[in-house]
């Protein structure tokens, strides 16, 4: 049974990775998961300098999902390179580094710092507000997305994967902008903006008022967008959004994802990543599928 997949020229031993921000840099999950057994570990978004993130509460539970407004707290690229990359390498994990920033320059700085690091892919989170454009996210404007993709691609030593925001009218327009800017692959979807009110205290649950919705509740949106993007452009896709089981992963792959990331499911079950992988294998056995690549984008 072949589980190996190739994405943007990089070979991964299987299609299961972690969704950025839900798995730290892997260390916290080591008691539950052999990191080297995953296709890759995708790390929490990292910026050029440390970010404090948002005030608390940062987490709200919703029906079949959750909201987070962590606000991309991160230790900055220096500490990340000194500590997290060597640790992941020591554990024999393939590494996808998720990058965030407030300006194009922030992103480029991180990407350049990573040039000589043993990193397999750079996943670029463009759901961050573009401080120079009044706070609308890079990923919500095709021109801004094209520009930032181009700027990052020009400096990146590793293949880049633009991670799209689902909070847009037409996801294919964004995919095409990233493709035109030179992205090597796409990740989708990031979280959907939501809000929860504590009606007993008449307060927002999240200090930030709004947060990003994730979890199985959003899976139908992920499947739809992955399918649309897969039909509209030729870049390979890392799919995420609500994957809880191997069957969910298969669904995203059939829609067009080459790899699948497990996010919120980790909070429900720290062994979710390996169980998703086991579920994929069980599905392949049941239907006598020799090579996982057969099902990618088969719809």
């Amino acid at each position: 049974m072949n589980l190996e997949v190739k994405l943007a020229g990089v070979t991964f031993k299987n299609p299961v990775t972690t969704a950025s921000g839900t798995f730290g840099s892997g260390a916290e999950y080591e008691e539950f998961v052999d990191l080297s057994a995953l296709g890759a570990v995708t790390t929490k978004g990292v910026a050029n300098v440390p970010w404090e993130g948002n005030p608390t509460p940062r987490i709200a539970e919703t029906y079949g999902g959750m909201l987070n407004a962590v606000g991309l707290q991160n230790p900055g690229i220096e500490l990340f390179c000194e500590r997290d990359i060597p640790h992941l390498k020591e554990k024999n994990a393939s590494i996808i580094v998720n990058v965030c920033g407030r300006t194009v320059e922030d992103y480029v700085e991180v990407v350049e710092r990573l040039s000589d690091e043993p990193v397999d892919l750079l996943e670029i989170n463009v759901s961050c507000p573009n401080v120079k454009a009044g706070g609308i996210a890079f990923g919500q404007n095709p021109d801004a997305l094209y520009e930032i993709t181009k700027a990052i691609k020009a400096k990146a030593k590793q293949p880049i994967v633009m991670k799209l925001s689902p909070n847009v009218t037409d996801i294919t327009e964004m995919a095409k902008a990233a493709e035109a800017g030179g992205s090597d692959a796409l990740s989708l979807i990031n979280t959907i903006t939501g809000m929860k009110i504590d009606i007993h205290r008449r307060k927002f649950i999240l200090a930030n008022q709004t947060g990003g919705m994730s979890g199985p509740a959003i899976k139908p949106v992920a499947v739809r967008m992955i399918y649309q993007v897969h039909k509209a452009c030729s870049l390979p896709i890392i799919g995420m959004g609500g994957v809880m089981t191997g069957e969910d992963a298969i669904e995203l792959m059939m829609a067009g994802a080459t790899m699948v990331a497990v996010g919120t499911a980790n909070f429900h079950n720290p062994r979710a990543t390996v169980e998703v992988l086991d579920g994929i294998k069980a599905y392949m056995e049941r239907y006598h599928i020799e090579d996982i690549n057969e099902i990618i984008g088969c719809m």
Binding site: G21, T22, F23, G24, E28, Y29, E31, F32, K44, P50, W51, E52, G53, P55, T56, P57, R58, I59, A60, E61, Y63, G64, G65, M66, N68, V70, Q73, N74, P75, G76, L79, I205, G215, P216, T264, N266, F267, H268, N269, P270, R271
Partner: protein
């Protein structure tokens, strides 16, 4: 730290909306320390996040952990409806727990922050006084009394000092070198100031909404004075670096 299906050994209601549950969770019970907590998962798939609940009692031999919780919403309500023999997923023990010192202790619990102090009371072998703050209805008080002297404060004055735990400490002239405390934020803040003023150490146990419970999601931070090793900013993770912090390190908002 393990995740396992834990079977409910017993559950009883011990106050208005307050439940006392004993879980068979052998591997977790072996490791557990006072001040740590467990993450309890709802069987209902609409609620994916675990509920953090402090460990109130540890019986390593029997392989059980005891929790005492209040119905605060849907998840705890579901727990309260479970019966002996039912089972649920549990992750734990989590967090750092209290650092037990030899110096004279003041053990303070307020409201639903009282349960985690019981196992500490039991295990602390030095000289100690327990101070419990209730709104009105008492619970667990008798059990604390089997390990130490107990001073009580109630908001309505129906038992002990009318007022806060600080009022009770002053009124009863409780003293010590180390305060261990869990309870509402205003109480913890007042204790932090009291400890500072009286040159005492204060170990306080904090709460925050959590997703992972194990330090990965950065959902549950508290502002701290020092930069911490993990996040490189002035935040620490309550689930992993806490829930117990040296009050001097915490920035109260």
């Amino acid at each position: 730290m393990v995740k396992e299906r834990a079977v409910i050994v017993s559950q009883k209601c011990i106050g208005t909306d307050i439940y006392d549950m004993v879980l068979s969770f052998p591997r977790g019970a072996k490791e557990a320390k006072p001040g740590q907590f467990i993450a309890m998962y709802c069987e209902d798939g609409t609620k994916l996040l675990p509920r953090p609940i402090s460990i109130c009692g540890i019986d390593a031999e029997k392989g059980t952990l005891r929790v005492v919780y209040r119905i605060a919403g849907e998840g705890t309500r579901l727990f309260s409806e479970m019966k002996e023999g039912d089972s649920l997923e549990v992750l734990g023990p989590l967090g750092n727990g209290f650092t037990m010192k030899e110096e004279k202790a003041i053990i303070v619990g307020g409201g639903i922050g009282i349960p985690p102090m019981l196992e500490l009371d039991k295990q602390l072998s030095c000289e100690k006084t327990v101070v419990l703050g209730y709104r009105d209805e008492l619970f667990l008080k008798d059990e604390f009394e089997s390990y130490a002297d107990v001073v009580v404060a109630t908001e309505d004055g129906s038992c002990g000092t009318k007022g806060t735990v600080i009022d009770a400490i002053k009124e009863a002239g409780v003293d010590g070198k180390v305060i261990y405390a869990c309870g509402p934020m205003p109480m913890l803040k007042a204790l932090a100031e009291y400890a500072e003023a009286h040159d005492m150490e204060a170990q306080i146990s904090l709460e925050e909404r959590m997703a992972c419970g194990i330090g990965a999601c950065l959902g549950c931070i508290c502002k701290t004075k020092k930069k911490d090793h993990h996040t490189n900013v002035n935040n620490q993770r309550i689930c992993k670096d806490g829930p117990v912090f040296d009050a001097k390190e915490v920035v109260f908002s």
